[in-house]
Every structure is written in C-alpha cells, then in structure tokens.
C-alpha cells in the first residue's frame, strides 16, 4: 500500500517560517480535506510535497511509498505518483496541450503511448470535462479562463493517473455545474485507480461531493484539529472562531495586518478586493 508520511515538517519562504511542524499520514485510497483560513499554510504544504523550489524545508521528512520525497527532483516526485492540481496553473505559450501531455505520459512508460491511444484518451477526458474540443491543439493554458484552467488540470490528472492527487482550491473559479463535473471526474478516477487525495477547499459543496473521510485544520502552520467529515461540516456552519477559542490559537495575519477569514465561503480574491473582515 502506498502511503504518504509527513513528520515534523517545517517549511520557510524567504526566511519566514510558514509550516511549523506538520505530521500527516495519507494512505492509498483515502480522501483528506485540508482546511484552514487563508494564508495559514495549506498551499505551502501541498507545494512543499510537490517540490516547489520557492519553499525551503528546514526540518522534518516526507516519505512516499517508502521513498524519501525530499531527495527527489520535482519530475521524479511526479513519476512516483504525486500530482498537484495547482491553484494557479501556468500558461505556456508555444507548447500545445497535446505535445505536453504526450511527453508527460511517455516519461512514465517504457514504450511511448501510441498516437491512437493518446487521441482516444485525451478526447474522452475533454468530453467528460466538457472542454473546448480544440483543447489538444491549443497552447497549454494560454488564454484559458480560470475555470478552463482548473478543468484542464483534471484532464491532465486523468491522463497521468497519479496515485496521490493533491488539489489546491481546484473548485475556485468553477461554476456550480463545473464543480459537479470535476467532482464526478475525480470520483471516477478514484474508483478506477484507488488514488489518495488531499483536497484544499473552502467550499462545503465541493467537499460533500468528494466525500473526504478525514479533515485536518491548519492554523498558523500547524494542524490544530483533526476529525472526520463532521469537522468540515461544522466549519461550514460555524467558521473557524470556535477553533481559535477552543484550542487557544491565533491565525497567521496576512500582509502583516489582515486577520484571517472567519467564514468558509469567502474567497481570497473577494477578500482582497473588499478588504478583510475584522
């Protein structure tokens, strides 16, 4: 059984410590929801697992399937089965989705995927996610809307079939119908491959569809409280304030002054535009 094991993980960005000792175990086939106010380390944790060079691991370990992930370059982590559906997927001009995905499929196989198989698989995924039928020939994410980019992350995931999928706010930027489509695609893939998932989301609607069995709440770089699905439902109803009181913690302030959100449905963009709630 493939297991992700994180022990006492400390991560810094530009000398500022973001994660202050994370312990987390995710077994094959399990779905974990990672929650917490904005700016408190959820994306950092996923990026650190994937190997984003902007983040420095100062202490702790990450093992996946018994291998020391921290010693592996980013591409080897991907080939080991890790996949991060990013919050802000990059646009790569000049490289078509099709060339990119075929290359990504081929690096994890001994024999290159045949053109016929590739076209069949990508067309199936494009149809399932109701994307532009010319997607394969368009440049990677270039000129895509926010929602298209997110759905394209799932197209990639379906073709690469990871054993550990990490989803960083994949539901933001998606309308109600698209959330349903993405959740269905993820559920199908999970049923097919028994992949594990770590899902960062602010939306109860999405989590209800994905059905996580475990919930972890990250506040100021530490997992403060853990539980089952009842925990994300409680947070959806009551926000985070009860956690701050009960566990005597303060969320990390954003930009030195902003207090963390206290409702589940507030998105970071709206927060930035309207100012934070006090």
């Amino acid at each position: 059984m493939k297991t992700l094991e994180i022990k006492n993980l400390h991560v810094s960005v530009e000398d500022k410590e973001i994660l202050k000792g994370i312990d987390l175990v995710v077994n094959e086939g399990e779905v974990h929801a990672l929650m917490g106010p904005n700016g408190n380390g959820k994306s950092t944790l996923l990026a650190a697992i994937m190997g984003n060079p902007k983040y420095t691991i100062t202490e702790g370990s990450i093992l996946y399937d018994g291998q020391n992930v921290l010693e592996m370059p980013v591409n080897e982590r991907s080939k080991a089965g890790l996949f991060l559906a990013m919050q802000y997927p990059q646009e790569i001009a000049g490289v078509t989705n099709s060339d990119f995905l075929r290359a990504a499929m081929n690096v994890r196989r001994e024999k290159p995927v045949s053109l016929f198989t590739f076209i069949k698989e990508i067309e199936k995924s494009i149809n399932e996610l109701q994307m532009d039928e010319n997607l394969a020939h368009r440049f990677l994410n270039e000129g895509f809307s926010g929602g298209e980019k997110k759905r394209n992350e799932i197209v990639q995931m379906k073709l690469l079939k990871p054993s550990m999928a990490m989803l960083d706010e994949i539901d933001s930027g998606l309308d109600v119908d698209a959330i349903q489509l993405v959740a269905q695609a993820l559920t199908d893939l999970k049923n097919e491959t028994n992949m594990a998932m770590i899902v960062v989301s602010h939306y109860d609607r999405f989590l209800e569809l994905i059905q996580p069995s475990f919930t972890h709440v990250l506040v100021n770089g530490r997992i403060i409280v853990e539980g089952g699905p009842e925990l994300f439902k409680k947070i959806d109803d009551e926000g985070y304030d009860w956690i701050y009181k009960e566990y005597d913690v303060e969320p990390a302030a954003q930009d030195g002054k902003r207090r963390a959100l206290n409702t589940l449905g507030t998105c970071a963009v709206r927060e930035t535009v309207n100012g934070s709630k006090k």
């Binding site: 190997g51 060079p53 982590r77 991907s78 990059q90 060339d99 990504a104 690096v107 990639q156």
Partner: protein
C-alpha cells in the same frame, strides 16, 4: 529539385520549388518570380551567397532558406516587392556553423507586403542585419525573429523597419523573442524603427531572458525533466517556421530535422 553549384538566374514560374545549394565558392542567384510560388532553398554548403529577387505585382511568394551548412555562411540578399506583391522570406537556422546575414526588402509600390522571419537554435554565432523599407503608401512590413540561445551560442539581430517620406498609411512591425536556459548566454537584439512619415503604424515587441521558473516547475510537476521542458519550449518557439513550406512531405522532413536537432542540443 534544382541543384545549384554555380551562379545563375532562376525563373520561378511553378507553384513550388526545392532548391539545393552545394558549392565551395561564392554563389550569386537571381530569382525572377512569374507565378505564385513556394520555395525551399536548402543550403548544404556555400561560403558566400548573394540573392537578388524581384516580385512583380500581384504575385505571392514564400521562400524558406534552410541552413544545413557545416561551414560558415555569409549572405547578402535584396528583394524588391512591387504593387500588391506579397513576399515571405524565412530562415531556419539550426545548424552548428556561424551565419552572417544581411537582408534588405524594399516595398517599392503601393500595397506591397512582406514578412521577414527567422527561427534560430543558436549554439554558435548567428548575426543578422535585416531591413524592411516601406517606400510606398499602403505597404506593410513585418519582421518576426524567434531564437533559442544555448550555452555556446551568441546571437545578434539588428532589425530595422524604415518608412520613407510619402509612404502614407504604411505599416512596419517587428517581434523579437530570444529565450535562454542558463546564465551567461548572449543575445543582442536591436529593434530600430526609422519613420519619416506621420500617417503610419509602427510597433516593436521584444522579450529576452531565461525560461520562467514557475513555468519550469509547472511542467516538471507533470514528470518532465529540465531537458524535456527545454526541448518542448524550444520546439514551440522554432517549429512554426516550417509552416512557410507548403509541401506536406517536405514540411514533415524539416520538422523532424528541427525536432531532432533541438533534442540533441537541448540535452547536451
């Protein structure tokens, strides 16, 4: 295929041509275009090449110079485009020998149109001086230079768009992009717009630099090595040059050659 080993005048009256230049002495070629035509000029060897070309009114011509030479190549080229003529001159440079080009396109009569473009995989010295001159009204000139500069490469492009007095409503545009993958690689691009008329449109866009780290991380997070990413990006930059060629078989051959060269050089 027309084999060239001596200076000559070639009448281009068919739809497509494949010309191969193989000579150890200087060659002087004159193209006289008498039809809409699509030409691939494959330079196997030639120390010095002079081209002069007249594109008469209303004709459309696309010429791709594919440099396969193992030795240094020095070229000087002059093109005259007349009323409503439409000329594309393109350079595919992925060989491992120095190139020094000097190209001038004169848009001599109203409605003349020209695109001058290059795609270069630079692992030696590549130096281009390009001029597109709008001499008449309603003429349109466009320069597009794309380069991937590798560790041993040095690129210099002097791109001049000039609009002469009296060339009302002329347009002169240029785009230059140079991409490198490591520190210390050298590329110099000088975009120049020399405008001597008021009622015109002119622009230049330029980007130079290393591949964006976030893009690299994104691509690697799907399993691609740095070399795979370099190859894919370089291919995206350079491959569109082969679209100048109409013949699908020829296009496929050039595409494979370019992809092979990119893979070979980018994984070094």
């Amino acid at each position: 295929m027309i084999q060239i080993s001596d200076s000559k005048t070639i009448i281009l009256e068919d739809e497509s041509y494949e010309i191969e230049i193989n000579s150890d002495k200087a060659i002087d070629l004159t193209f006289v275009i008498q039809n809409n035509t699509n030409v691939l000029v494959n330079i196997q060897s030639c120390p010095s090449l002079h081209i002069s070309c007249e594109l008469k009114e209303d004709y459309e011509a696309k010429i791709l110079y594919w440099n396969s030479s193992k030795n240094e190549l020095v070229t000087s080229e002059e093109y005259n485009v007349y009323r409503n003529g439409d000329l594309t001159v393109a350079y595919g440079e992925c060989n491992l020998a120095n190139t020094n080009r000097d190209t001038t396109i004169l848009l001599k009569e109203a409605g003349a149109n020209a695109v001058l473009s290059s795609a270069s995989l630079v692992n030696v010295n590549k130096e281009y001086r390009m001029r597109v001159v709008n001499e008449a009204e309603h003429t349109h000139g466009d320069m597009k230079n794309y380069a991937v500069v590798l560790s041993e490469g040095k690129l210099m492009i002097d791109a001049i768009g000039a609009i002469k007095k009296g060339a009302h409503r002329a347009e002169s545009h240029q785009t230059s992009r140079a991409l490198s993958f490591a520190e210390g690689q050298k590329a110099t691009i000088l975009p120049e717009l020399l405008i001597d008329e008021n009622d015109v449109q002119a622009s230049h866009a330029m980007s130079m630099g290393r591949m964006d780290e976030d893009q690299l991380y994104y691509m690697m997070s799907r399993g691609l090595s740095i070399e795979d990413c370099t190859s894919l990006i370089a291919t995206g930059y350079l491959l569109p040059i082969v679209d100048v060629v109409k013949d699908e078989n020829l296009k496929e051959t050039l595409k494979k050659e370019l992809e092979g060269k990119i893979q070979e050089l980018c994984s070094m």
